[in-house]
């Protein structure tokens, strides 16, 4: 298979795409600059996974809308399990293909100045804010590698969420990105800015059904917690088997800020996932938790990085993976403490449960420490279901299959239980159920 170094998208195409979206000049310039860089930049190099033969660059990029609805009950059944329709979620955006199908934001939050809108609208109406945070040196730079540049050039969906200073939000804010049509490509960007001393809970779902049509997802989230802000970020990725996914979720925490992640990484296709949190401000903290279930022949690489810059920063990485059938996954956990990050603490735990002789899994704990006055620790294991645990559960009358099911759900629970929306948590449990059986 040849993956052309020559990209299928030229400047004229980008120019037209941007014009069709009525984008301001600055956004168009970012795109045009990015497509030029994409030509020469290298692909990312995920540790211990070879992606040379993966197609990330050749795809159908057409902008495609989906039908909008005024009542979420009118959405197709396939989406209904992701939210509680009876309670009509107060703060929800559902993106269908590349356009918004449903949008709600409570009056209370509107009055407080919260901005929650699709990315194209945000670029037009809140240009200064978006421009300040969209793919800068502080977050995900355009020129990190070929895929970040391609992303900047071709972004065709996403949301912008801004929480003003001192605004505390109790109800979760939810997005559902539904790739309704099998053949389209999602280049989706989520930009979240929690201003000083604000707090929020955000949960997103990615869904597609292209078991046969090969396509690409190039997804980036940039998540800013300014000084004193607190963000709880939950996600369930569920791209179908024929999607090759690059997903990069980046957190940037200011002084006394917190960013906690709970990621359910349930894609059925080949996936590269990078979840990096930069603990820039003193006393900033992050708990980066992720689960995955591998099945079929898919190959995945999950890298979770906590990058400590500030003093007294505190981080914990928790990765749990269950490998079935002939799936392969690498779990890299990286705790990096920069010189000057005194009194910081970086902990990590990665555990992989192998359910098949043909599956392959690896957990790599990595600590990179350039400062003396710190604490750090890691634990990693790759193992099979413990026969003595099975014996214990079975000794209470629980049949083998059910006992195995309990152990698998239990193994993933430390992350699953962190998802802040009940319907999303339940939906994730169902996905896990389907994947391990």
């Amino acid at each position: 298979m040849t993956v052309g170094t020559k990209l299928s998208f030229d400047k004229a195409y980008i120019e037209q795409f941007s014009k069709d979206r009525n984008e301001p000049d600055w956004m168009r310039e970012i795109r045009l600059d990015a497509i030029e860089r994409a030509e020469t930049l290298e692909m990312p190099k995920p540790d211990k996974t070879t992606i040379r033969n993966w197609n990330f660059t050749d795809f159908n990029h057409d902008y495609k809308t989906g039908d909008a609805v005024s009542n979420i009950k009118d959405l197709p059944e396939v989406l209904q399990e992701y939210f509680d329709a009876e309670k009509a979620p107060e703060n929800l955006i559902i993106q269908r293909n590349h356009s918004v199908a449903y949008q709600a934001l409570s009056d209370d939050l509107k009055e407080k100045g919260v901005i929650f809108t699709d990315l194209f609208t945000a670029v037009r109406e809140h240009g200064d804010l978006v421009k300040k945070y969209f793919m800068t040196e502080d977050g995900v730079s355009v020129d990190e590698h070929k895929l970040t540049a391609l992303h900047a050039a071709l972004v065709n969906g996403g949301v912008f969420l801004y929480i003003p200073e001192n605004v505390q939000i109790d109800t979760p804010i939810q997005t559902i990105f539904w790739q309704e049509d099998a053949e389209i490509t999602l280049v989706n960007h989520v930009l979240i800015v929690a201003d000083k001393n604000s707090s929020l809970t955000y949960v997103e779902n990615y869904i597609s059904h292209n078991d046969e049509n090969e396509t690409v997802a190039n997804v980036i989230s940039e998540v800013y917690a300014l000084d004193g802000a607190k963000i709880a970020y939950g996600a369930v990725d569920n791209f179908a088997a024929a999607t090759t996914t690059y997903v990069n979720r980046r957190g940037i925490a200011g002084r006394d800020a917190t960013i906690d992640w709970a990621l359910g990484q349930m894609n059925d296709g080949n996936t590269i996932s990078d979840n990096t949190t930069r603990l820039v401000g003193d006393n900033s903290t992050s708990q980066a938790k992720a689960v995955s279930v591998g099945r079929g022949n898919q190959t995945q690489n999950f890298t979770t990085t906590l990058h400590h810059y500030g003093k007294h920063t505190d981080g914990f990485i928790l990765q749990r993976g269950v490998m079935t059938e002939a799936s392969t996954a690498i779990f890299n956990a990286i705790g990096k403490i920069e010189h000057g990050g005194t009194k910081s603490n970086s902990e990590q735990e990665s555990r992989v449960l192998m359910l098949s002789e043909r599956a392959r899994g690896d957990a790599n704990p990595i600590l990179l420490i350039d400062e003396d006055d710190v604490t750090a620790g890691h634990a990693a294991s790759v193992g099979r279901v413990d026969p003595v645990q099975m014996y214990y559960l079975k000794s209470r009358g629980i049949p083998e299959e059910e006992a195995r099911r309990l152990l698998i759900h239990g193994f993933l629970d430390p992350v699953v239980s962190q998802l802040p929306i009940e319907s999303v948590k339940e939906q994730l449990k169902q996905v896990i159920e389907r994947k391990v059986n």
Binding site: S395, R396, L407, P414
Partner: protein, 261 residues
């Protein structure tokens, strides 16, 4: 029928090619409380684990039947559903599975599909059992045995016993790790189960548990066999005099397995 009958005949058990049990005979009927006593290393826990079907133990000879059915042919979970229960000396920690979810799964495994225990009924029964055992309610939502103290694990085993209501229960060193107050609470709960449908085999190397749970029969194990049986008076004599007199009587020098008389 008054209750179940567990019949152990000439049971020989090995672990990694070392024979631990060398022919155990024992019959437990509904309504009967049996105590198996003996110093450490004489095969008591092996007997318990072998009956339940622990994967490390290999039965090389003999039979175990429950109401005439061959227990050794059953899977571990089938044994439990047939009415056997083992309160384990070292129960596994099961991360991510709450005590409450685990108990519900176990109870429902004993019931027909479509006849699952109603949630309210389950909560009520669980609350009553927790109260009886003076266990903090929070245990129900903690992960099963994870981070539990030794005493908490033992109480949790008895909690499961109360909830699952087996016909024959084997209690393996349920008294170790319990202080005297906890021991009384556990004993009270077990005594409450006493009726003609419930039989139990209490394994202990201390007599003190038997001060609170009066056994009908007492058996002494040495060298992988039951070497002496009697009534409750046997336990009292063991408490007063230790095991030496039995060893002398039988000409045993070293009571542990791996030794032969």
């Amino acid at each position: 029928m008054a209750g179940s009958v567990l019949e152990i005949k000439n049971l020989h058990v090995s672990i990694e090619d070392t024979e631990i049990l060398k022919g155990v005979d024992l019959t437990i009927k509904g309504g009967e409380f049996h105590a198996v006593m003996g110093p450490n290393g004489t095969g008591k826990s092996t007997l318990a684990s072998a009956i339940m079907g622990h994967p490390l133990y290999e039965i090389t000879e003999g039979s175990v039947t429950l109401n005439g059915e061959d227990v050794l042919e059953m899977e571990v979970d089938e044994r439990a559903r047939a009415g056997l229960f083992l309160a384990m000396q070292y129960p596994s920690e099961v991360s991510g599975v709450t005590t409450s979810d685990f108990l519900r799964s176990a109870i429902n495994a004993h019931r027909e599909e479509g006849d699952e225990i109603p949630l309210m009924e389950f909560i009520k029964e669980l609350d009553e059992a927790l109260d009886l055992l003076e266990i903090d309610k929070s245990m129900a939502t903690r992960y099963l045995n994870e981070g539990f103290s030794g005493g908490e694990k033992k109480r949790n085993e008895i909690l499961q016993l109360l909830m699952l209501k087996p016909e024959i229960a084997i209690l393996d060193e349920i008294d170790s790790g319990l202080d005297i107050d906890a021991l009384k609470i556990v004993a009270k709960a077990i005594n409450k189960m006493r009726d003609d449908k419930f039989g139990t085999l209490i394994i202990t190397h201390y007599q003190r548990l038997l001060n609170y749970i009066e056994p009908d029969f007492v058996h002494v194990m040495m060298q992988g066999r039951i070497v002496k049986s009697g009534g409750p008076e046997l336990a009292k004599r063991l408490e007063a005099e230790g095991y030496e007199w039995i060893k002398e009587e039988l000409g045993i020098e070293d009571e542990t397995v791996g030794q032969n008389a």
